[in-house]
């Protein structure tokens, strides 16, 4: 079977990269010098790397202080850490969808606010695990932003961000009733005389029990009938309206469950609650969580274990994450995930501190890389496995984008780019320190001797100088960083 061979390849890939890059941690001459960044042991670093968009020095410091378990608890209660945030998102993200839809170029402005907000939060929020889960659910309940820009602002705030650490059933009901999803999958057109099956099908195939969850075409039809009359009315608070006139009030049978005639909106609620509580739903979503946080092919026993936690906690998300992120398989999966383009980009931003003022500049990078936020058209969300992303053009664009990003002047008016990279590099005093500090910043560890020698030859044009002249530093730090971001190890996390 193709899958097992692919699995093998991705494992061997990770192993090869580790062998080449994960040098021993023993002391060497250069290491004796004081270093800019605090260090974490491999397991701690792996934990921080997976639950975040890239490890920053302050994360290591805090986690070293608290220990992994306590740090995870803190991450699972983001209200306590949000106050540490040092950035502001657009006030438009607080607007409800009708307000966000008002005014000239409202759609475009809403798009800019959403995409900028996503990047800012992923890059700068101290509540990293929370933002990772927001992204997970945005993929799971994918909605393309085109034509739905104002709705999406509201959807993310009122549904995804509200329930990202909450209970799955609440989120599912919130999604079903939100105008963004009602429009995106056409349920607003689902009426008794002409049922529209788009949402009903995806509700089972993608949102709950999965394509192998055991439903038939007849089940799709019955679920669509149960959801007739669920539509949008701008007069209603939130925009959801159940239209009894358009609801099919006959009885229905789906997945062997009987819905008596004449129950109106309760039909749809019964469908959502039933689907949310099924073990197939636990399996389907927990497997996706394992793929997101552990590896492209998690073991069935891990999925079973996590799905068991889901079932015994009625779809509460925090206990599921706790079990998953403290599992042995999670700990053993160091560097086994391929960074998606957005992961890659934000990891670069987190390492360098690069900020864009100009949305189009940033967006053009993300388009070239292949993952502009909220632009995936099919309802299944951006793919999450290496085989979907590791291709020629994707690699080339990473190499070129990393170079372009790091070749910008440190403060450039045209692109609105700003970075405090030199400060982050800890003002290195010599060439080896520059390389070591850069490696620490990017990988959390120093490189093996062979790689360091390669890089030293590169930044000194083969002369191997020890003295870091101002000229050399200014000319070479950018391409050195670009090389680290282009390296195979940085493609993994």
């Amino acid at each position: 079977m193709a899958l097992s061979r692919r699995d093998f390849l991705s494992y061997s890939s990770a192993a090869a990269i580790l062998a080449a890059w994960g040098g021993p941690l023993g002391l060497s001459r250069a290491q004796a010098a004081p270093l800019a960044a605090p260090r974490a042991d491999d397991l701690t670093y792996h934990f921080l790397n997976r639950i975040s968009y890239g490890v920053r020095a302050e994360d290591i410091e805090r986690c070293n202080q608290m220990g992994v378990a306590a740090y995870l608890e803190e991450q699972l209660n983001p209200d306590s850490i949000k106050s540490r945030a040092r950035f502001k998102v657009s006030p438009l993200l607080k607007a409800d969808r009708l307000k966000a839809a008002k005014g000239k170029d409202a759609g475009f402005k809403a798009r800019v606010a959403s995409v900028n907000g996503m990047i800012q939060r992923a890059a700068n929020s101290p509540a990293q695990l929370y933002e990772r889960m927001v992204e997970f659910w945005s993929d799971h309940f994918n909605i393309t932003i085109d034509e739905l820009e104002p709705e999406l602002i509201d959807f993310h705030r009122e549904v995804i961000r509200k329930h990202a650490f909450g209970n799955f059933k609440d989120m599912l009901v919130g999604v079903a009733k939100h105008p963004a999803m009602l429009y995106y999958l056409d349920n607003y057109l689902n009426v008794k005389d002409k049922p529209q099956e788009n949402y009903a099908r995806e509700l089972m195939e993608l949102h709950t029990i999965g394509v192998d969850g055991g439903y038939t075409e007849q089940d799709v039809k019955e679920v669509a009938r149960a959801l007739t009359g669920w539509t949008v009315d701008d007069e209603q608070p939130g925009g959801f309206y159940f239209d009894p006139e358009e609801h099919d009030s006959e009885s229905k049978v789906f997945l062997g469950k009987f819905l008596a005639a004449g129950n109106g909106i309760s039909d749809g609620m019964a469908v959502l609650e039933y689907l949310a509580g099924l073990p197939q739903t636990a399996q389907f979503i927990c497997r996706k969580l394992c793929v997101r946080f552990v590896s492209d092919s998690p073991s069935p026993s891990l999925v079973d274990q996590i799905a068991g936690v889901w079932m015994s906690n009625n779809g509460e998300i925090k206990p599921v994450l706790r079990a998953l992120l403290l599992s042995d398989e999670f700990n053993a999966a160091i560097n086994m995930k391929f960074r998606r383009p957005l992961d890659w980009y934000i990891a670069v931003v987190r390492a360098t501190g690069i900020e864009f003022k100009d949305y189009w500049y940033m967006n053009s990078f993300l388009e070239k890389l292949g993952q502009p936020p909220y632009a995936w058209e099919p309802p299944n969300g951006y793919p999450d496995v290496m085989n979907a992303w590791a291709n020629t053009n994707g690699l080339l664009e990473r190499w070129n984008s990393g170079y372009a990003l790091n070749e910008f002047p440190l403060n450039d008016k045209k692109s609105g780019i700003k970075t405090d990279l030199l400060k982050r590099l800890g003002k290195p005093k010599n060439t080896t320190e520059l390389i070591d500090n850069a490696s620490l910043l990017v990988f959390g560890k120093k490189l093996d001797d062979a790689r360091r020698a390669d890089l030293l030859a590169f930044i000194t044009d083969g002369k191997g100088e020890y003295i870091l002249s101002k000229e050399l530093q200014e000319k070479k730090w950018g391409s050195l960083m670009a090389l680290l971001f282009a390296s195979p190890m940085f493609q993994m996390r």
Binding site: R6, D105, N393, L395, L396, W399, Y403, A404, F458
Partner: protein, 424 residues
Amino acid sequence: MRRSLNIDSVFGLDRPHLFEVPKSVITEDSAAMVFGPRAATGPQGDILICIFQRGGMDGLSAVVPYFEGKNYYDRRKATSVPAPGSAGNAALDLNGKFGLHPALAPLKDFYDAKQLAVVHAVGSPDPTRSHFDAERFMELGAPGNKTVSSGWIGRHLETSTTINESPFRAVGIGSIVQTSLRSSVSALALPSIKNFRLRMRGDQVKKIQTLLESFYHVAAPTDILGKQAKLTFDSINTLKAIAAEEYKPANGAVYADNGFARSLQQIAQLIKAEVGLEIACVDIGGWDTHETQGTLEGSFNDLLKKMADGIAAIYKDLGEKTQSITMVTMSEFGRRADENGSKGTDHGHGNAMFVLGGGVNGGNVYADWPGLAKAQLDDGDLAITTDYRDVLADIVKNRLANPLVERVFPGHTIKPLTITRPRI
């Protein structure tokens, strides 16, 4: 179908490029690329060049149904094309019923040489008038179905028996691959031959390439990343060789100085370099002519000219090779029969397609013409009597030599057409 919004007002007219490239992104699974060495072999069937006119071409002005008389001319005061012979500058007669817009004159030669077929009242049966949904449905080859995630060309490549492991097997000109190319067969997004390289300072390129080749173990790749890196460098080297020579089009062909012509020229370069190209997709945007569309001059005229000049240039340039090349054009929908109050046309339904190549039964207009009288229109638009999938299926079966057309267009009962001849 989503609630219809006027896209132009949502994004502002200063962002017309939204329709020049598709929003699609990547192939879903590039497993097929992972295994085995690649041998650059050519296709067993024709090379297909697929041109997508983004924004919705006004088929009623491109291929003019002048024989409709009042039914056409009364609806179109500011946007109609005069019947052949009725004015100095008028439609170029095709068959006594339909005429080509004079800006398409370069294509008329191919029609007369029986290499160009015109299909009319053709399109995607899904009623959506949303650009995004209509483009996606058309490219997926599955109108109305949002669960199909691979494109029609992608499925052709998946089901084709051709052994072709060239990284240039399927190329989308642009920074992201067209939705129609999505599948487990990885397609190459190629914005430009010249730019598919390490875009770095001259004094650093070579050093960085050497380091990356060492980092990724390109000499003896053992893993996915290494293999992909090797492919990337191989492609860079191939394209570098192509880009190094100043390109001289053959047979006196002249490519105009615009993005569309440049894209076609690059396709010609890849074809002549015999790098294993089977499918090339290219977009031409700007067809969303809601305002001041014009008739014999103006924006629509200029666009048609750009398209026809580009197609004529590559066709001429490729000379004898066109015996094994098929080109096809499509657009997500046509435009309303009645023009609007801004001397333009709004989103409609039925449209025209062009099929060009050595294996085409050209010199014909293929149209089961539904008529333009009020009762004959579909919700105010030209009705669709030919499903665009039948046109493409005809090409896939006859010219691309792939009999598995049912798998290329799932859920569609294919109606056989005779627009192309089977390859011998």
